[in-house]
């Protein structure tokens, strides 16, 4: 019984970390319909900035997060303006090509600027070390990640489903020309959504850095994981992504506990099973 609880806690924590990092991708991919393989690159940029701010400039954790999120968005603005704007509505494969190209460049530049070593973001004392839950101990930063996941999920869901901005965004994605003809300033809507997605990526990159450490290859190393999580949940669906992260985190964690040598099999078989049963993702948007 204790084992079940224990594995369950791990699953929850891992799932939430995945969620925080990938949810921005759900926005670009599900709502803006851009297969954004460079998502990890923005998460990584966030991580690097935070690490630099905390390690080298000596800012505190919260300040480092803020600086990193804002910094990443600032970096992303010209990228959106000159590159992404060209591929909105383009065929998926073109988007793949462009975003992989961006990823390569970011990796190369990160390697050049920061070197190939791992970078860490020092945690404040409150988030450091294990916390005793009674039946087991868990890293404090994982509890923090869970909390972040809950807040981000709620906030984002509200933004997209309940605000006028959310409606305009979804309309622009369905048919940009028509939305424009109804007076929606689609360029601005897109730019803002992109900034939100990138900001979330940066935030996730920082919060998840304890599990997925920051290094230049980060941008490609976890690309598949993000892609899988978002699609299994149903791109564009916040509750879907959350559910997918929890389910996949659960399967992955249980698999690694029970039969670690076949962990990979479990994970991908589960992905296949879920995708075959729910071709639009667990809670995918209907088209």
């Amino acid at each position: 019984m204790q084992t079940v609880f224990s594995v369950g806690t791990d699953a929850l924590a891992y799932g939430m970390v995945l969620f925080v990092i990938s949810i921005g991708l759900s926005v670009t991919m599900g709502l803006m319909r851009v297969v954004n393989l460079a998502h990890g690159a923005f998460a990584m940029i966030g991580g690097y900035i935070a690490s630099y701010a905390a390690q080298t400039l000596g800012f505190g954790y919260a300040a480092a997060i803020l600086i990193a999120v804002v910094g990443t968005i600032i970096i992303a603005i010209p990228v959106e303006r000159f590159l992404y704007r060209r591929i909105y509505g383009a065929p998926e494969l073109t988007q793949v090509l462009m975003t992989i190209g961006i990823t390569f460049c970011v990796i190369g530049i990160a390697n050049y600027v920061f070197g190939p070593t791992l970078k860490t973001i020092p945690l404040p004392d409150t988030l450091r070390g294990p916390v005793d839950l009674g039946f087991r101990s868990i890293a404090a930063h994982k509890l923090f990640a869970i909390a972040c996941g809950v807040v981000v999920a709620g906030g984002l869901w509200f933004l997209i489903e309940k605000t006028p901005f959310g409606v305009k965004l979804r309309a622009s994605v369905d048919n940009a020309a028509m939305a424009a003809s109804l007076g929606v300033r689609t360029k601005i809507v897109y730019a803002v959504s992109f900034a939100v997605a990138v900001g979330l990526a940066a935030f996730g990159g920082i919060v998840g850095a304890e599990l997925l450490p920051i290094e230049p290859y980060y941008a490609l190393r976890y690309m598949v994981t993000f892609l899988v999580v978002v699609s299994v949940g149903g791109a564009g669906s916040i509750p879907g992504a959350l559910l997918a992260c929890l389910v996949l985190g659960g399967i992955d964690t249980t698999g690694r506990y029970l039969l670690p040598e076949y962990g990979e099999f479990f994970f991908y078989l589960a992905v296949i099973a879920i995708v075959c049963t729910f071709p639009r993702g667990l809670l995918g948007r209907k088209k």
């Binding site: 791990d10 087991r136 994982k142 490609l220 976890y222």
Partner: protein, 370 residues
């Protein structure tokens, strides 16, 4: 004349730092020993194979031999990449100096291969003795599920069982594992006194070590034993405090205390640019260059692979890692293996502190394979 040496390694991609160390070791050697032997200029031609990719490795090696006309092939971080070029050597009349790839069997694939690094068997087996000596009875092994991981598991298991210890469970986890909490839970549940682990150097080691701490294994007194890949110097700044006290066995520590090493480290750190990035592949490359220089001297710059290899059989010298020699039989290095502990230096940085020396270790892996 110009004698060209073709070096294949991961100079970009996820293992770029290891390739960078190759280059640092080579640059350091040439800075200290000149880039001329007799009248011949030595030129290095680099080729990049970012991740294990034997086909690409072979194509590039072939290109190096045929187009660039290299007389020596060297480098090779990954075993399959080294394996792939072995069939070429004879026809090309080129010796291969393996500067890293660590599977025992490589040297058996051709008589023209010399290895100046280590094997996973070689660095892992002594750990079993350490465990035994420290009174550890039950061990659980946790390794990444690929060649070197399996080697490490077998090396430790064979030696530890022979010493009378018990391996209670062996876990092989996929290379792609990010979250090690469930694994640590397994370790806890197994009731072992110690954990023997192998993960390739790099990002995943961070999560692994942190999980070891965060899941309360450290505080529960479960010892952490591993070959030195897990605490390579370039990862230590990130691993930081969480790695303090970890025990590893390895053939080289940047902190090794010898005049030879001081000289090497100074030159290599200059070559690599960022001193903290210096790690073990550099010494394999440095010694590899030493061997190649000796080969060139012996052949007088003429292309004669067999003669070159024969010339270094039994060669012994003082390497930055300590005294080493090339075993004439296997053409692999006989060297000291050190038990190290991650310790904090006065300046607040962490380093691998050598505490026990196992002298003149051969490769037990080759014997085990027979």
């Amino acid at each position: 004349d110009t004698i060209k040496i073709g070096v294949v390694g991961p100079f970009s991609g996820p293992f770029a730092i290891q390739g960078k160390n190759f280059k640092a070791g080579i640059d350091a050697y040439m800075a200290l020993n000149g880039s001329k032997i007799g009248d011949d200029d030595i030129e290095i031609v680099y080729r990049d194979v970012p991740q294990a990719d034997p086909a690409q490795s072979k194509a590039l090696a072939q290109e190096l031999v045929v187009k660039e006309g290299v007389q020596y092939l060297a480098g090779f971080y990954f075993t399959p990449d080294a394996m792939a070029v072995t069939p070429l050597l004879k026809q090309a009349n080129v010796p291969l100096v393996v500067m890293n790839a660590a599977t025992s069997a490589i040297v058996t694939k051709s008589p023209l291969i010399v290895r100046t690094s280590f094997t996973t068997w070689q660095t892992s087996a002594p750990m079993a003795k350490v465990a035994k000596e420290r009174g550890v009875k039950k061990v659980i092994t946790v390794v990444s599920d690929y060649g070197p991981g399996v080697d490490a598991e077998n090396a430790f298991k064979t030696t530890f069982t022979a010493e009378g210890g018990e391996v209670v469970d062996s876990i092989r986890m996929p290379l792609s594992t990010n979250d090690f909490s469930p694994i640590m839970q397994r370790v806890k549940d197994s009731g072992a006194d110690a954990l023997f682990a192998f993960l390739p150097s790099g990002p995943t080691t961070l999560g692994f070590v942190k999980a070891y701490n965060d899941n309360g294994l450290k505080s529960a007194g479960v010892q952490f034993l591993a070959p030195g890949d897990l605490t390579q110097e370039s990862d230590l700044p990130a691993l930081g405090a969480s790695a303090e006290g970890l025990l590893t066995t390895f053939h080289y520590a940047v902190s090794h205390d010898s005049a030879e090493n001081k000289k090497f480290v100074e030159a290599a750190q200059k070559a690599i640019g960022t001193p903290a990035e210096l790690s073990f592949p550099s010494v394999g490359a440095y010694d590899g260059m030493h061997v190649i220089y000796k080969m060139i001297e012996a052949t007088g710059g003429k292309q004669d692979a067999q003669k070159a290899v024969d010339a270094v059989k039994g060669l012994a010298w003082e390497s930055p890692r300590g005294p080493v020699s090339i075993d004439p039989e296997s053409r692999h290095m006989t060297q000291n293996i050190y038990l190290r502990e991650v310790a904090k230096a006065d300046d607040g940085t962490y380093y691998n502190k050598e505490i026990v020396t196992f002298e003149k270790q051969g490769d037990p892996g080759l014997a085990a394979a027979k």
